[in-house]
Structures are given as structure tokens and as C-alpha cells.
């Protein structure tokens, strides 16, 4: 029964594949920007592409959009392998990392123009433009020249331009980059709303953004896919429980490893680097007093202590041994 359920789930997934990336590779001279990347994106999900700057996220996205040709491998969109075909273009909306717009057109004018470039006729393009400006809080700026907008507004206009032709797939490259906190919340909510009707791929180096928005996250670095799963599963993959981060008053030079060994008796994981101590355990609330006692027993004082859940950054550190490069 269980295997039948799994088989049916697998078949459903296959039917729902919107984007299939197979062995994708891109080299620029000696540099391999994307290396043998393979994954599927399912209908209606928010798929996060997480990785540091230069990891190959934008190159992968550009290949998916058809802006650059892969050196090897294939991208299949809605079952069609050729992204040169103009009918495929109408299914994808792309919001690039940079704000790209026509500075001497008003917000409304460029939305209508872009819509018409996608084959929309005048009235539907105008109606859709008004809707989008309203949804993203730009209705009052409809008749303002784009170059006069603030940074956050330009970013929102950039998202509007990606959505003008109502694509089934929306690709957002660093959608929250450069946004003020208020705009970030607006955009985040907007993306969540859109996810009900569209498939969304977003790239980010912001773990918080990926963790909050994405249904599944692919972590890539140096062009390679390191891990792909739901944020919850990714966090669990490096160990369950909460994390206690402690800054000690001195490092463990007198009796190296003694305190760590002592803590490992009551914790699942202990990392000590200089004065920074990180411990993980499933019942952190109950274990905190015992942990602090043992630290003090070994002659240390605690300068600072923070308790938190696993983050995607922890996953990245676990996978690569280093922090996300900013």
C-alpha cells in the first residue's frame, strides 16, 4: 500500500514538472560557472536557488530563461526543450537582478509597451498594467518617469514588468535586493500571493528570504548543486534540535578539548572555534542550565549567549565548511 502511494506520488510529480533541468553546464573560457546541474521544478511551487554571490545562480537562471545558451545539458520548459521558440517566452516572466526599465517612459507606459511586445493588445495591456501597479503599490506613480522612482519602487516596477504578460512561470533573480524593510514585506507577501497561481523560481543569497518563501531550496556553490529539499528538511539534515551560540571570555588553551568532551555528553553537536562555542541539542530549554554549569566548571565565563533554531546558513556551513560569501 505504502509503495503504491509512493508510486502514485512520483507519477503526479512527473506530470507536474514545469521546468526540467538536465545536466546543465556553462563554461566561460576556463571558468565553469554551472557544472552538471539537474533538478525539476513543480507546478505551483516556490523554488529557491540559494548560494553565495558567484555561485552560478544567475547563469543558471539566464540559461533557463533562454538568455544564454548552455555549453551542455538541456532545459525543458512545459515539455518544450527549445527556448528559442517565441511561444515559450510567453510562459516565462523574468525579473533580473538589475532594475531594467526605460528611464524616459512612465511606469504605466513601459508596462503597456512590454505587454505589447509580448503580443498583448492595447486594452488588456492597459488593464493588466493598472492591476500590477496597484498590487505592488505603485498606482500613484503610474504617470511618473521611471528614472524618478526611488530604489524600492524601481525594484517593484521591475517585478511588474516580469508579470505584465501573466506568465505561468515567474523567475525572480534576487527579488529583495536593495529593498527597504517595508518594500521587502510588500514584495514577500506579493510573491506568496502569486505562488497560488504561478510557479516561481527565486534566486537569493539571503537565507532568511529563501527560508521564508521557498517550498524547496536548492543550495548551489561553485556551479554545483549541493542539496535540494524543503527548508525544513534541509535544516533537519544537519541535525535536529535548537542551537545555542555562546561567546566565552577566553579560548580553551589550558585544557584543550576537555570542555567540549564534557558538553558532548549532554549535546548532539559541539563546535568550538576560539571564543565562539556552538552547541546543538533536541531539548535545549531543559539543557541550558546544565550546559552553562559545565562551561563554568571548566573555568570559563559566558559573555554572550543566544538560542536559535537551525538556519539554512547552518546547512550551508555544514555542507561547505564556510559561511555564505556576501
Amino acid at each position: 500500500m505504502n509503495s503504491l502511494f509512493k508510486m502514485s506520488q512520483h507519477l503526479n510529480e512527473r506530470e507536474n514538472i514545469v521546468i526540467k533541468v538536465s545536466n546543465l553546464k556553462k563554461t566561460f573560457g576556463n571558468l565553469t560557472a554551472v557544472d552538471n546541474l539537474s533538478f525539476d521544478v513543480y507546478k505551483g511551487e516556490i523554488f529557491g536557488f540559494l548560494g553565495p554571490n558567484g555561485a552560478g545562480k544567475t547563469t543558471s537562471i539566464n540559461m533557463i530563461c533562454g538568455l544564454i545558451e548552455p555549453t551542455a545539458g538541456e532545459v525543458t520548459i512545459l515539455g518544450n526543450g527549445s527556448r528559442k521558440k517565441t511561444d515559450i517566452k510567453t510562459h516565462i516572466g523574468f525579473c533580473p537582478q538589475e532594475n531594467i526599465f526605460w528611464p524616459k517612459l512612465t511606469c504605466f507606459e513601459q508596462l503597456v509597451f512590454t505587454g505589447e511586445m509580448y503580443g498583448m493588445t492595447g486594452k488588456p495591456a492597459r488593464t493588466r498594467s493598472k492591476e500590477l501597479l496597484e498590487w505592488l503599490g505603485l498606482q500613484e506613480k503610474a504617470n511618473v518617469l521611471a528614472y524618478k522612482l526611488s530604489g524600492g519602487m524601481k525594484r517593484r516596477l521591475n517585478i511588474c514588468l516580469a508579470l505584465i504578460h501573466d506568465p505561468e512561470i515567474l523567475i525572480l533573480d534576487e527579488p529583495e535586493a536593495g529593498l527597504d524593510p517595508q518594500s521587502r514585506i510588500l514584495v514577500r507577501n506579493f510573491i506568496k500571493t502569486l505562488a497560488k497561481e504561478k510557479t516561481i523560481i527565486l534566486t537569493t543569497h539571503n537565507m532568511d528570504e529563501a527560508g521564508r518563501l521557498a517550498d524547496r531550496v536548492a543550495i548551489i556553490d561553485y556551479g554545483k548543486l549541493l542539496l535540494l529539499d524543503t527548508p525544513g528538511n534541509l535544516k533537519k539534515s544537519i541535525g535536529e534540535g535548537d542551537i545555542l551560540e555562546i561567546i566565552l571570555d577566553k579560548d580553551d588553551q589550558e585544557h584543550p578539548g576537555k570542555m567540549k568532551d564534557s558538553l558532548l555528553q549532554i549535546c548532539d553537536q559541539v563546535n568550538l572555534s576560539g571564543v565562539s562555542l556552538m552547541v546543538r541539542t533536541k531539548n535545549m530549554i531543559e539543557s541550558v542550565s546544565e550546559i552553562t554549569n559545565r562551561i563554568k566548571e571548566h573555568g570559563f565565563k559566558i559573555n554572550e549567549m543566544t538560542m536559535r533554531e537551525n538556519t539554512l546558513e547552518d546547512v550551508f556551513i555544514h555542507l561547505t565548511g564556510r559561511k555564505l560569501r556576501q
Binding site: C65, G66, L67, I68, E69, R83, K84, T86, K89, T90, I92, F94, P96, E98, I100, F101, W102, P103, T114, M117, Y118, G119, L161, H165
Partner: protein, 387 residues
């Protein structure tokens, strides 16, 4: 010390803007080289038509035709002096005038019916009037002037040797169209109208390259718009700008005393066709550049060529490499204004009609199509294709 640092920094930046540096320092040498190639290597040549109406004269029971002797003498003179002048005879005045108007010949000389009689009278000391010769041509055309000077020299030499008299000859100059009435200002206005259109090269190229510079070309690549649709759309607006520019130039010229003759609508037609060709050329320039700054540097090359070698700024005579249906194909013919300027002169100076400028219009269209095909292909390849 600070000065040294600035010099070092400036030197490094100049070297690293390699193409801009190369283009800047190569412009003048290129220009000199091109001038030599076009002007010297192509060796300009002048065509003189002669209509001999001389009836001859009876002398010592022998029929003598001094007009015919003049023709033979002229050919021998050209052969011995190797001047770049060709003499062709014609029997039809109207056809000959048309040839001159269409620039298939530079000047027409009519030897009158009583030429032999008058030469004879001067020989015998019985002459009561000068020997009249009619020179017909476009008085604004430098080729006419050069041809007429040589013809005058040849004819005077012949008449002096035949009559041994000084100055028996009277040249009657007949101007075609309004070429005899116009001053320098009127003469240069057609070229200036075309220069107004040539200047479109920058605005048209920048209008296209701005999409590359602003990266909005990415949005166009992602949409369903084709390079052809995009470039045509930008081009149509530039054509309108070209027409406005031509009309404004004409209005200023007329207000300053320019004597406008010919068909206004033919002028507009030529302005539109030349604008389209310049915009089509701009597509090639846009394919070669990525920013407005680059356009201003790279664009100087074609701009100077179009200014100085198409006949817009001053007349240029080039040897035909070959002819197609009698229409000469020259090196300058690769520049579209080299076809529109003679057409415009025909309309505005010779007062000729549409039928007379059909060859120029066809040449202009062919060049425009070539520019457009190369431009769209190169732009698509450089800026709109998947990398």
C-alpha cells in the same frame, strides 16, 4: 608628484580604452588614405559631347569642313597631351542635352552650321563677326567647368592655328536648368539638405544603442519582438525626424533667399529615401557599438566619409568601376547620399522630374536594402541573439 600621478593614471586609462584610442588616432590617417584611394587612384575623367552642325565651305573647288577638322584636331590634342578628357560626337541636340542633364556627359559643344564659312572669312581677313561656339552644361557642376576650360583651350588653339588671328572666337555659354542664375548659397543648399539627413546617423544609432546601454534589450530579447520589428519601429521615428530636419533646413534656406525650384514632393521623396538609407546604415553602426560614447567615436568614420566623399560638402568625381544599365557604379556609390545628391540637384537645379531620377532612386533603394540586411543581421547577432 600629483601631476606625475595624474599623468600615470591618465596614461593607463587611455591604454585600457584601447579601441577608443585606436579609433581616435587612426581617423585622420584613414581619411587621408581614403581620399587618396578615391581621388587619386580612381583618376577622374571628363566627357565632352560635340554636335557638329557645320555645313563646310567651298574653297579652291574643294569642300572644306573646319568643324570636322576641329574634331579631329581636338582628338589629336587629347592624345598628345594625355588630358583626362574624352570627346564623343552626337547628332541630336535634345538627346545630348539630356545626357548632360543626367551627368552622362559633362558638357556639350555645338559647332554652328556656318563655322567653316566664318573660319574661312577670318583667314581671308573678310570677317565681320566673331566665330560663335555654344557651350552647354550645368554651370554649377565642377565637371562642366573643367571640361569647358579644356574645350576652350583646344578650340582656341585650333582657331588660332587655322586663322592666325588672336581672339576671333566667341564662346556662348548656355546654362541648363537654373544653373546659370544661382549663386554659391543656392548651389550648396541641396548638399546641406542631405547633410541634415546624414546627421540622423547619430540620433538613430544612439536611439538603438541606448537599449543595449540601459540593458532594456534584455527585456526585448525575452519578449516576442523580433530584431526586424524593433529596428523598424525605431527607424520610422527617425525617418520622421529626418523629414522635419530637412523641412526646417529648407525653411531656413528659403527665408535667407534660397531660390527653390523643382518639385517639393520629389524633394520630400528623396529626403525620406535618404533618411531610410542613413537609418539602415545606423543599424550597422549600432551593431558595432555598445554605448552612446562609442557611437560618437566610431560614428566619426562614416560621418566624415559621408560628408566629404558622397558629394554632400563638395563635388567629387569618381571613375565608374562598371555600369549597370548605363548607371555608373563607383566606390562612392556605396554611400547612399552619393545617389541622393545628384538626384536632388537634378530636381532643384535642372528642374527635372521623377522619370529623370529613377536610376538614382533605384540605386538608393538597393544600397538601403543592403545596409538594412547587413544591419539587422549584425544587430541580431551582436545584441539580440542567445549568447
Amino acid at each position: 608628484m600629483k601631476l606625475t600621478s595624474v599623468i600615470k593614471k591618465s596614461f593607463k586609462e587611455q591604454i585600457r580604452h584601447f579601441w577608443i584610442l585606436v579609433l581616435t588616432i587612426s581617423l585622420a590617417p584613414f581619411f587621408v588614405g581614403f581620399y587618396y584611394w578615391v581621388n587619386e587612384a580612381s583618376k577622374p575623367h571628363y566627357d565632352l559631347l560635340i554636335l557638329n552642325q557645320d555645313k563646310g565651305v567651298e574653297y579652291l573647288s574643294e569642300k572644306v569642313n573646319y568643324g570636322q577638322r576641329l574634331l579631329e584636331g581636338a582628338k589629336n590634342y587629347i592624345k598628345s597631351t594625355e588630358i583626362p578628357l574624352t570627346i564623343k560626337t552626337t547628332g541630336n541636340k535634345a538627346a545630348a542635352i539630356k545626357q548632360v542633364k543626367n551627368k552622362k556627359a559633362d558638357a556639350l559643344i555645338i559647332i554652328p552650321g556656318d563655322f567653316s564659312q566664318q573660319v574661312h572669312d577670318w583667314q581671308k581677313g573678310k570677317a565681320v563677326k566673331s566665330i560663335d561656339l555654344e557651350f552647354i552644361g550645368d554651370l554649377t557642376d565642377i565637371n562642366y567647368m573643367v571640361s569647358a576650360i579644356w574645350a576652350n583651350e583646344i578650340v582656341n588653339d585650333y582657331v588660332f592655328n587655322t586663322t592666325q588671328k588672336v581672339r576671333p572666337l566667341k564662346i556662348i555659354e548656355t546654362s541648363l536648368g537654373i544653373s546659370g542664375k544661382i549663386d554659391d548659397f543656392d548651389l550648396y543648399v541641396p548638399g546641406l539638405l542631405i547633410i541634415a539627413v546624414i546627421m540622423l546617423m547619430f540620433s538613430a544609432t544612439i536611439a538603438i544603442v541606448t537599449e543595449v546601454e540601459n540593458k532594456t534589450i534584455t527585456r526585448l530579447k525575452l519578449s516576442k519582438v523580433s530584431a526586424f520589428e524593433f529596428l523598424s519601429g525605431v527607424g520610422i521615428i527617425q525617418v520622421l525626424i529626418g523629414i522635419i530636419s530637412v523641412l526646417l533646413t529648407l525653411a531656413v534656406a528659403v527665408s535667407l533667399g534660397f531660390d527653390f525650384a523643382g518639385s517639393f514632393w520629389l524633394l520630400i521623396l528623396l529626403a525620406v529615401l535618404t533618411s531610410i538609407s542613413i537609418i539602415a546604415f545606423s543599424l550597422i553602426l549600432a551593431a558595432l557599438t555598445k554605448s552612446a560614447n562609442e557611437v560618437l567615436i566610431v560614428g566619426n568614420f562614416p560621418l566624415l566619409l559621408f560628408f566629404f566623399f558622397s558629394g554632400a560638402a563638395f563635388p567629387m568625381k569618381a571613375k565608374a568601376l562598371f555600369t549597370i544599365f548605363g548607371y555608373p557604379v563607383t566606390i562612392q556609390g556605396l554611400m547612399s547620399p552619393s545617389h541622393s545628391i545628384p538626384a536632388l540637384k537634378k530636381v532643384m537645379i535642372m528642374n527635372m522630374g521623377l522619370a529623370d531620377i529613377i536610376p538614382e532612386i533605384i540605386a538608393l533603394l538597393v544600397i538601403t536594402i543592403i545596409y538594412f540586411i547587413i544591419g539587422v543581421w549584425a544587430f541580431q547577432r551582436r545584441h539580440m541573439r542567445v549568447q
